[in-house]
Symmetry: C2
Subunit: 456 residues, 2 copies
Amino acid sequence: MASKTAFALTAWEKPCFGKRRSQKSWCPYPKGVITIYTSYSGQISLINLSVLWCSQPAVRLKSMKKKAIILQSGGSTAVINQSLAGVIYEAKRSKTLSHLYGSRFGILGILKPNWINLLECPPRTLTALGETPSSALGSCRHQLNQRECSQAISTLKRRGVETIFIIGGNDSAQTGLKLARQARVKREKLQVIGIPKTIDNDLPGMDHAPGYGSVARFFAQTVQEAALDTRAIRYSDPVKIIETMGRDSGWITASAALGRKKYEDGPHLLYFPERPFHLSKFLQDVKRVYKRFGFAVIVISETIRDHHGKRIGSPASVVAKDQFGHAYVEGTAQYLCHFLESKMGVRARFDKPGTIQRMAMAYISKVDQKEAFGCGVHAVRLMRRSESGVMVAMKRFSNKPYRIQYDMVSLEQVAGHEKALPANFINRAGNDVTDAFKRYALPLTGPMPHNHVSFV
Amino acid sequence: MASKTAFALTAWEKPCFGKRRSQKSWCPYPKGVITIYTSYSGQISLINLSVLWCSQPAVRLKSMKKKAIILQSGGSTAVINQSLAGVIYEAKRSKTLSHLYGSRFGILGILKPNWINLLECPPRTLTALGETPSSALGSCRHQLNQRECSQAISTLKRRGVETIFIIGGNDSAQTGLKLARQARVKREKLQVIGIPKTIDNDLPGMDHAPGYGSVARFFAQTVQEAALDTRAIRYSDPVKIIETMGRDSGWITASAALGRKKYEDGPHLLYFPERPFHLSKFLQDVKRVYKRFGFAVIVISETIRDHHGKRIGSPASVVAKDQFGHAYVEGTAQYLCHFLESKMGVRARFDKPGTIQRMAMAYISKVDQKEAFGCGVHAVRLMRRSESGVMVAMKRFSNKPYRIQYDMVSLEQVAGHEKALPANFINRAGNDVTDAFKRYALPLTGPMPHNHVSFV
């Protein structure tokens, strides 16, 4: 195996063979024959060095190349594997790396360690990988503590890995930042490069994040479809609430309005975590819409809060306990359905697409898919430019036609900060989006495919 | 408007102009000019009859044709409008009808009445109609009483409609049967033809119903996607429950297994309303799967019942009331999540796709789409064959290659009866499907498109 060779020259050792590297030495042996053993004391013992002097080109000397590791972190998206495929593709193409390890289950796979070499991935798998939702390498939600941070850095050093790519959102940026800082304290060379990923679209310093375009397309289309259903059956089930994810920002909820052609089609009301939620105003809004159209389609973030900051439908809003002594935690949508039914005397139903919203390959945005791949490619370029402590960022330089460029942002700017839906994207009443939001978001989802027919 | 002409010869009047009809008379006037007024006393007063004797062919005498009405009923599907499009297409093609009315909001639109003439639908609208989920004419859930039944028949008679097409499931068949019986009692001529529609696939007398193939495809794919998500994040959120619709039959739940390549991929456990649900056995099953794979993906029907016949997660299983004095009704999946969390100490999450499952155009089955259209076409043929009190039915005469033929079944056989998932489609343990089910269902969904990659 070539791994023994790749053992030779790592980030932790001082450069050697400088001359030979510049001579671009070649050897006629198959990869596995070049065997160079090192000790970690700083001394290098060379065995079978003769192969370095062979003149016929066959295998480029692996030992001149670096090793990197990549991990996926946090909640998955429909395009997170496109970014992984982008990194693998560019690493293979540029031939910069001897090894690109994939860490299984995010940072947990570095602590264990539990790795695979992704450069051995055949092109067929690479294509299928891009079409696979969720994190193919596995993911986790784990906050590194000081001890684990040191442990991770030691493991990376021991295995000769000098670059770490982290595909993730705010929390993953935090993990990357911790590793970068700890490495600096320990005077270890460790290049940390973040690749943005989140359906929530709440990463600061960038126009948008991969994952958002697809979830936005999912809601733009499925809310139209659910609205058609409610419109048709309005004499039986006139009220429909759809609950979205999105942490403390309303980007996903806002996207539900993107498929709307006429206001009547719905969604009629959208509620964002950026604005305090008042039950009485909500009831008033729903009654008004119901009176006007005979049905109402409402989209809410699962994290909307009342003016005291308490989550609607959270344990704080209920008192009951179940037979296991467990407090009933009603979901936000379910809670609001009960509320409307009791106040309006009509049937209210809810949809909670849960993980389906972030995994639905059939509703994927082609733009998003392409950009996620591009972010992966750009990360490898940042590595080659020796950047560290940064995250890839997309900047929009033209909206019509839609054009972006890949740039970077410091991890400090992303970690622990959330980008809320700007005030000019929410209407004055706090229950709908503005045209400015549509202009921003529609290029990310791509055109809406359906022209629906309704006779009612 | 041609409507005045079409007023002339209706089902409620004795045949007249017999000779002229056989002569296939033509007139040179545009539609609206031929004006024949009738009294409903049985006497017919003719005005402008001279036009009948013109010799140049231009407009076929409309008054020889019949009138029909079509309605959509019950919960919508992704392909119900294909059946509507099929009826309109065949009615236009065969030129049997002078009017094909569409009743808005199902049977409520007949009682009101609230109709449109669908023969005026341009081809472009017809194509878009087939691509629209939900009931384009509107739907309702309404049980006709005796008085309403008489009222509906009187309205149809007064407007000269002698055929009624009802696109619906079990309950709609019941409505059709009531109308047919009442018409027979009243000695009125009324042809009732049902067109099957249900995501639940519980209509007796047929191999399957339009609507099922698409919802089956939705679950076959989205459960695979949700399972990939759970597999990836197993150290944080290892248990996922997905709640399906399907009334008292487990057809939809069963379909969730169709996308599974290997058992490990999931779904690992499926629970059907056909078998009593035991919490202790459920816990045992989940613990076993979790121990083996580190995660568990479970699909349940929202209507599963315990051995006393009580719905899991229904009001009967909770005692608490909310601040409006409303009993907490936990959904089945939510209830089971709480149960598993308290017993296993791991996080369990649930997805409840609700109406999204029956409307998702992006996951539609092409086979289902085509067959739904075919059922509409066949209904018009049954009308021309003077059948009544029947529903279109698809019979499978070959499974490899998959071939069906359109047939019919009496409304009596469908109304109020439900076709449960047969015993040989459920495994012995009652928590999975058999290969026999897969052989049955896979031709209905079409091939699964994705080959997913997972490194964990």
